[in-house]
């Protein structure tokens, strides 16, 4: 029987996890040619993280953001998602090293969609994945190159990243909503 996420009380704060993420990304990219590295955040949680990482890492290359709603695999079930902000990849992805940033890695379907979308922009040299939290309940063969926190047991509910007006991150657990 899977337990609810909110029983996992020993998870650090979002801010603490962000610092771990920052160090993880720094290590990950240190041997790559810096001008060819671009962060790509998945809207909206991943994009917030990518924005802060972009400031803190002071990368020369612009960051991008991805709205994966056109590449999801659940269109027939749920229809078009309401997310309004469109993807923005203002740089040429060809031969670049992309670091995809997301808040929570769960089944892996979001990352599958993100990769398909990225490749429609061009052929990157490499793609790495960094996430704040890895729930490790994969339904596809996807893994993160770095995660700040791992949740080993299967659990119900969802983890949601929030950002205050001042830019501070926090994590909230939302219980499982029964399917409509």
């Amino acid at each position: 029987m899977t337990q609810s996420l909110d029983r996992l009380v020993d998870m650090p704060t979002a801010e603490a996890l962000y610092l771990k993420l920052l160090e993880g990304v720094r290590t990950l990219i240190k041997d790559l040619p810096q001008e060819q590295v671009h962060l790509v955040g998945i809207l909206s949680g991943g994009a917030w993280l990518a924005e802060r990482l972009q400031q803190d890492l002071k990368l020369p290359g612009a960051m991008g953001s991805l709205n994966i709603s056109f590449y999801r695999d659940d269109f027939d079930r749920i229809g078009l998602h309401n997310q309004v902000t469109p993807s923005e990849i203002a740089f040429d992805v060809v031969d670049r090293h992309l670091i995809v940033v997301d808040d929570v890695l769960y089944t892996g379907r979001t990352i599958r969609a993100a990769m398909n979308e990225l490749f429609d922009y061009g052929r990157p040299a490499s793609v790495k994945l960094v996430v704040l939290i890895d729930r490790q309940e994969r339904q596809l063969p996807i893994c993160a190159d770095f995660s700040a926190w791992q949740i080993a047991e299967a659990s119900t509910g969802s983890v949601v990243l929030a950002k205050t007006e001042q830019g501070t991150f926090s994590l909230h657990i939302e219980p499982e909503t029964p399917d409509a």
């Binding site: 056109f70 590449y71 229809g79 997310q83 469109p86 429609d120």
Partner: protein, 317 residues
């Protein structure tokens, strides 16, 4: 009576007319279109959203340009597109509209994009397709051309940001124009300050006041301080004679020249659904001038049609 365009969950499952659609639904279509606009800049302009779906373009009236934009829109969504030009004479050879639809439905069509000369034809079709098939009206008689109105609204929103304080004038053959009707409903729903129609009386239908429109038979008065001018094409094929003496006289009094454009606000938008009759309803200097957003309309048209197809295809059955 529930609007036949909405399913029982209130989702848009057909797009037949802008009339009767809430402001929320119209805004949702415009917002969704906005997310499709950047795709045109990419190398790969497609997204896989409608992969595996079949879109049948059913044009009972010839139209290369509208059909092509729907084709582009569907292709960019990765749908399979099938074009059927059924001109009137082959339909007159015996197959009724409903028989045509039944035959095509048997070929697993997911979306019908329909253009027909009879007002109301898309409603008839929508009543006879199964719940997971969607009808998009590409123009029915004089009644509606909702995707044109939506791309016109998108264009207005793009340049003017807000609808609230706008005065919009529609000039030309309003009587026969489905574009005019769809625009009137969209504009009033989205809350513009004033909608005007300018034309000789022979080209103005009765009942415009009830639709929220002020009528003018003089360009100088009608265009005064207007923010948006939507020019309509003078449709030769729709006029059964005796409505206008000549296009020469029409152009002199109702054609949009630079001189008449000056009555409107200096930043007024000049729009036209196309194709234009230069020298009949609009002067080239205006059509190609700085206030013209006619080409933008065409670009936005693809994104708007992609949005409409995605939204209806995603409605639950």
């Amino acid at each position: 009576m529930r609007n036949p365009q909405l399913n029982k969950h209130g989702e848009l499952t057909h797009l037949i007319s802008t009339e009767g659609l809430s402001r929320d639904i119209l805004q949702h279509i415009l917002d969704t279109a906005q997310t499709f606009v950047p795709l045109a800049e990419r190398d790969v302009k497609k997204v896989p959203l409608l992969r595996g779906k079949s879109v049948f373009n059913l044009f009972f009236e010839n139209s290369t340009r509208t059909r092509t934009t729907f084709e582009i829109a569907a292709t960019r969504l990765s749908a399979d597109v099938f074009n059927l030009n059924i001109n009137v004479s082959s339909a007159a050879k015996g197959e009724t509209l409903l028989d045509t639809i039944a035959n095509l439905s048997a070929m697993q069509a997911d979306i019908f994009v329909v253009r027909h000369e009879s007002s109301g034809a898309p409603y008839l079709i929508a009543r006879h397709v199964s719940p997971d098939v969607h009808v998009i009206n590409a123009g029915d008689g004089r009644h509606a051309h909702p995707t044109q109105a939506l791309l016109d609204m998108y264009t207005i929103r793009h340049f003017k940001k807000s609808f609230s304080n706008l005065t919009v004038a529609i000039v030309g053959d309003v009587l026969h124009s489905r574009v005019a009707r769809s625009n009137i409903h969209a504009l009033t729903t989205l809350g513009v300050a004033e909608v005007r129609a300018i034309a000789p009386l022979t080209l103005l239908p009765s009942g415009l006041a009830e639709m929220g429109v002020k009528t003018y038979t003089d360009m100088a008065q009608g265009l005064k301080d207007v923010d948006v001018i939507i020019m309509l094409r003078l449709q030769n094929e729709r006029m059964r004679g005796a409505l206008l003496p000549s296009s020469h006289e029409y152009f002199k009094h109702f054609g949009l020249t630079q001189e008449k454009l000056a009555y409107a606000k200096p930043d007024a938008l000049v729009m036209h659904p196309g194709p234009m009759n230069r020298g009949v309803e609009i002067e080239s200097a205006v059509a190609d001038g700085p206030q013209s957003v006619i080409l933008n309309q065409v670009t936005f048209g693809i994104a708007v049609r992609m949005a409409v197809m995605s939204i209806v295809a995603g409605a639950s059955s």
